[in-house]
């Protein structure tokens, strides 16, 4: 026994750790926390006021030049969206190079060059340093701002805006911005078609001439370069940059919401509600509570082990994710708690969010939560340092926001010193459960009443403006009357019933490609056909006949299921409204709504299989101006004209999730009561 013991000890001695039986029952203890040494970047200032920071890092033979213009936020008013064009306009050519030449020269050296309204970024291998600086300074100092490039950019922005009109997340963020900051605030104003159209090349040039000044700019140089060399090249390329006074306005601080205000945007095609609970808050990086607020937010809803996520997703299964944020901004920012949830649980989800917000203020956080938050935040701070540009950003922040010189050096130390009491004090100061905007974008008919239990619901339109107060002028109005008024408006019940067949040819254009759609309605024989042609080729045909439907195209043919047949069946009729009664569709009148500025009766149409379509009929003219269907999309009807005693919309705008942008269709010909050919329904 003794021998064995000696042998054992002997073994231990010669190979101390490698043979030791390791304790696998517990996690090893971490070593002492590493000290993070942050070197101060070298810095110098040119005579024109340009402040330069140099982070030497010779690991890779690369160098990056990153310029930031430190201007205050500006109010763009009737030209909202203008600053969004500045970067691409700068890159659209110079007095020395066309856009193509610029692209080619950047690609040729394998480099990157980009510009924004307050930034410019150039990066290349060390050996192409002179070339990238030449290209960067050419873009900086000699832009030509070509008109045709602005036209192209405007077109793209208008397309994006059109798409965003229907996007619930975009609607939600516009609403939150307007409520938190107000429409006349740099953070609250939003771009519209008119404001984008309003932008011209002179605005861009004027902006460039006003703000691109060295005395409000910082240049960070990171990579394989010494301070001496940086000084030489920066002087060579940037000392001719003339300084100038930039007069800037302060940003106003908006008032907090009074009480809890429930704001709803009714989007009847929604199957999910986008919830954002928000209010403005002042939290700049130089605020002594900055770190406390970050920890507080992490615990409430900063990650996938935070309270909101654990409650709304893991416990209740309401949503794929629920998060909160407290922004950081020199002037003013916002608190927000967000989730996209199934329509049915909208009010329950709002209640859970509100109660978590109230709870963290009332009961505070636990020591365990605090430790996890610290570990997570210090881990991400540590990882961020791997990128050398982080050091440059730190130096610029210290300068820009007047932070203590050791702000980042003491970051981890200050984080680790925070106590539960600190976080609870921050919760009591920055969390305001009784003064919040509770914004919801969703199907009003299903959620509005339930939301009323949370607070008085104020309705807003898709632009974040209060929806016009709409009242039922005629208290006796019913859905049936709306339909009958509509039929009268298009020519009268009798005239409508006299129509037995119709052939409609419509044209549309997508990105320069013409599409032709031809529909045959044969009400006498209960059949319908539609062909879609592109470039003269038939790309799809739909046929309904003998209580069956099929769709063919791209070499395939598919029978419709009974459900699909019911959906498509409404197409069979030239004027479906004339058949609602006989088909036993149920109609519900859901008040008067604002449809692109027109007052309209909203009628919800349910067919016996449960499919829903929502139609809007103008209060003034009685005509149908819009329909919404979850599956087939939204259609706006315009330009009613008379044909053979019947009024028919000659222009329709179709929006569906199937096509990337709204499709403008116009009626090329409409023939009523024409002979139908059996060939068309084969």
């Amino acid at each position: 026994m003794k021998k064995i013991l000696i042998y054992f000890m002997f073994c231990m001695a010669i190979s101390a750790v490698s043979m030791a039986q390791v304790d696998r029952s517990n996690y090893p203890e971490p070593g002492p926390a590493p000290t993070i040494e942050l070197d101060d970047p070298a810095t110098f200032t040119l005579d024109n006021g340009l402040k330069v920071f140099v982070v030497e890092n010779h690991k890779l033979p690369r160098v990056t030049f990153s310029l930031v213009i430190d201007r205050k936020p500006i109010l763009e008013k009737d030209k909202a969206g203008m600053t969004g064009f500045v970067g691409q306009m700068l890159m659209a050519g110079t007095t020395n190079r066309t856009k193509e030449e610029l692209d080619e020269e950047v690609d040729f050296i394998g480099a990157t060059l980009r510009a924004g309204s307050t930034s410019m970024y150039g990066s290349s291998l060390k050996k192409h340093q002179e070339k990238i600086l030449t290209l960067m300074s050419d873009v900086m100092f000699n832009p030509v701002f070509p008109e045709e490039e602005l036209d192209k950019l405007k077109k793209q922005s208008l397309t994006a805006l059109a798409t965003s009109k229907d996007n619930p997340d975009a609607i939600s963020s516009r609403l939150a911005a307007k409520l938190d900051f107000g429409a006349d605030h740099p953070y609250g104003e939003i771009e519209t078609e008119a404001s984008l159209q309003n932008v011209n090349v002179n605005d861009i040039r004027e902006y460039y001439e006003t703000y691109f000044k060295p005395n409000i700019s910082y240049l960070a140089i990171v990579g394989d370069i010494t301070k001496e060399e940086a000084e030489k090249v920066v002087k060579a390329h940037f000392s001719g940059w003339e300084k100038g006074e930039v007069s800037q306005k302060d940003v106003p601080i908006p008032a907090s919401p009074e009480g809890r205000q429930v704001a709803l945007v009714d989007r009847s095609s929604s199957v999910q509600s986008v919830i954002n609970i928000t209010y403005p808050v002042e939290m700049s990086i130089d605020n002594p509570d900055y770190l406390k607020a970050r920890v507080l937010n992490y615990i409430l809803g900063g990650g996938s082990s935070s309270r909101l996520f654990m409650n709304l997703r893991e416990d209740k299964g309401y949503t794929y994710g629920a998060y909160s944020s407290i922004g950081t901004d020199r002037y003013v920012t916002s608190f927000s708690a967000e989730a996209s949830v199934r329509t049915e649980v909208t009010d329950s989800a709002v209640n859970e969010l509100v109660s978590e917000i109230a709870k963290i203020k009332a009961s505070g956080v636990t020591a365990h939560e605090l430790e996890s938050a610290k570990a997570s935040l210090s881990g991400s701070f540590g990882r961020s340092l791997e990128s050398p540009s982080t050091l440059a950003n730190f130096a610029i922040n210290i300068e820009r926001y007047g932070l203590p010189k050791d702000f980042y050096k003491t970051y981890l130390q200050r984080l680790s010193a925070l106590s539960v009491e600190d976080i609870n004090a921050a919760a009591s100061k920055y969390i305001h459960p009784d003064n919040m905007y509770i914004t919801v974008v969703g199907n009003g008919a299903e959620i509005k009443d339930k939301l009323e239990a949370i607070g008085a619901v104020q309705e807003y339109d898709i632009w974040g403006d209060p929806a016009r107060e709409m009242e039922m002028v005629d208290a006796d109005m019913t859905a049936e009357k709306v339909i009958s008024n509509y039929l009268t408006a298009i020519g009268g019940q009798e005239a409508v019933e006299a129509i037995k067949t119709a052939k409609v040819v419509m044209n549309a254009e997508i990105q320069g490609q013409k599409i032709k759609m031809t529909s045959y309605h044969d009400e006498a024989k209960s059949r319908y056909a539609q062909t879609v042609e592109m470039l003269g080729n038939v790309v799809s045909t739909t046929t309904l006949a003998d209580n069956k439907g099929k769709i063919s195209g791209m070499g395939q043919e598919k029978e419709l299921t009974d459900e699909q047949f019911e959906e498509v069946k409404m197409n069979m009729f030239v004027f479906p409204e004339a058949h609602y009664e006989s088909l036993m569709y149920t109609l519900t009148l859901d008040g008067v709504k604002d449809v692109d500025g027109q007052d309209a009766y909203k009628v919800i149409v349910n067919n016996p299989t449960g499919a829903t379509t929502v139609n809007y009929y103008s209060v003034e003219s009685g005509l149908k101006i819009k329909s919404e269907n979850e599956k087939t999309g939204d259609i706006n009807y315009n330009d009613y004209q008379e044909r053979q005693g019947i009024r028919y919309p000659m222009s329709m705008v179709v929006k569906t999730s199937m096509i990337p942008m709204p499709l403008n269709t116009t009626v090329e010909s409409l023939e009523l009561n024409v002979e139908m050919n059996d060939e068309n329904f084969k």
């Binding site: 590493p34 080619e104 690609d107 050296i109 394998g110 291998l125 570990a375 990128s387 699909q564 199937m658």
Partner: protein, 443 residues
């Protein structure tokens, strides 16, 4: 794990080509008696450390009746071990201020975590637990099967063009197990018994089939001691590791097919078989792909997207695999452009390269771009860890990481023309059209 998309891996792999000539990556390596190969790279600039284990098992090592196993294990092995509770693996790393991830390809399965450097021992302990005695039980198998089902739905079935890789592989290989994608078959996973999962673990998750890489703020001596402490006792595998020796026969006819998918815009996919990853021509094919579609001023982007406006996007991606991968080319048609029409123009440009090669000026540009990519490829520790491990496993030489630029430099203009003719064989390729499923009529 959750973020493992093979296609994304393939794309990322292409973007971050390993290694540099100028600034070499230093490393130390050793092999334990049980066969575990260990690579260490010290860089004390930032107090973080990346720990990774590469298991040399991918979908090609699977039984054709049990496809999807390798990828399934990438999920299963986060379930815990004899000492780490179920679901704790990820939580522990996160609560220590770290991040983690994993992916599976046709050739390898790779796990990695980034932690503050004082927590290296925790990472080594956890990886050794995974290698020594991972928890493989019915509950874990059932749970992860549901997760993989969701992943397949989200990433492949529900994703426009998401099935491109599986559909292409299926046709590009008639014999080799590359014919199935790592996601594999859910039916196979459903049919598998618990014993089969345990057998797979015993065959492939053994130290002699693994490469452990540690990169970051470390001390070489201490790291080596810890590695021995946690890994030396893990027994060497007893089974023979299955590595397919099947050689894919050369295609003599074009394979052409149409896939109807939930998409709006037609796409054309072409795939050409490539030589094994370690073949010298791999570098030339990579440069050729950059010439064809890398950047705004590349041949196909300029001609098909900007000038003719027939395509919304075009891309050439060499998916280089151990036993010979595929060169995938895809074009997404512009609105109203037929797939046939776009394919014709793509072929015109391929023939142009085959006949005329690459101009001196374009060749120069290509070398500049490649140099920039190679140099930038090793800018992060997790990139370096991955490249070190792959250099060792695929090339049998860890220092391959420092020879990449040299290898690209050896490629000549003539080589580009030669490989364009040798591999882009118009009569031995796969061509797929992705077309929109006939939609329900609107209006």
């Amino acid at each position: 794990m959750k973020k493992s998309s093979f296609l994304a891996l393939a794309f990322a792999g292409m973007l971050s080509v390993p290694a540099i000539a100028q600034n070499s990556i230093e490393f130390k390596e050793f092999t334990l008696d049980n066969g575990l190969h260990v690579i260490m790279h010290k860089d004390n600039t930032t107090p973080i450390v990346v720990t990774s284990v590469l298991y040399h098992v991918g979908s090609k090592n699977e039984d054709p009746e049990r496809t999807g196993f390798a990828h399934f294990f990438e999920h299963l092995l986060f379930e815990g071990s004899e000492n780490i509770g179920r679901g704790e693996y990820m939580k522990k790393i996160q609560s220590e201020g770290g991040t983690l991830n994993a992916y599976t390809s046709n050739d390898i399965t790779y796990y990695y975590e980034t932690l503050p450097s004082n927590k290296l021992e925790i990472a080594l302990y956890m990886e050794s637990e995974r290698m020594l005695h991972a928890k493989i039980d019915q509950i874990g198998v059932d749970t992860q099967r549901e997760v993989v089902k969701e992943e397949k739905r989200q990433r492949y079935d529900n994703q426009p063009y998401g099935t491109i890789l599986p559909e292409t592989l299926l046709r590009a290989y008639s014999e080799h197990p590359y014919q199935w994608a790592p996601i594999g078959s859910l039916d196979h996973l459903n049919a598998a018994s618990l014993q089969e999962f345990m057998d797979f673990y015993k065959e492939f998750y053994v130290p002699n089939n693994a490469t452990l890489t540690i990169a970051g703020d470390i001390d070489y001596k201490q790291t080596e001691e810890w590695v021995k402490e946690y890994f030396a006792d893990i027994p060497k595998g007893q089974k023979e590791i299955y590595r397919p020796s099947i050689v894919e026969p050369k295609k003599t006819a074009e394979i052409r097919d149409v896939i109807y998918d939930n998409i709006q815009i037609p796409a054309v996919i072409q795939a050409y078989n490539l030589p094994p990853k370690t073949d010298k021509d791999s570098y030339a094919m990579d440069m050729l792909s950059t010439y064809l579609t890398g950047g705004n001023s590349s041949l196909m982007t300029k001609e098909l997207v900007d000038k003719q406006q027939k395509a919304l996007a075009v891309a050439a991606i060499p998916l280089d695999l151990e036993d010979g991968g595929i060169f995938i080319m895809y074009g997404i048609a512009n609105m109203g452009v037929q797939a046939e029409d776009l394919e014709k123009e793509i072929d015109v440009l391929i023939r142009q390269v085959q006949q005329e090669g690459v101009s001196e000026e374009d060749f120069q540009k290509l070398q500049n771009i490649i140099e920039n990519d190679v140099v930038s490829g090793n800018s992060s520790l997790d990139g370096i860890a991955g490249n070190l491990a792959q250099s060792y496993v695929f090339y049998g030489n860890t220092n391959q990481i420092n020879m990449e630029l040299e290898k690209y430099r050896e490629v000549t203009r003539d080589d580009l023309k030669r490989v364009a003719n040798k591999y882009l064989t118009l009569d031995g390729r796969v061509v797929l059209y992705y077309l929109p499923k006939p939609a329900e009529s609107k209006q």
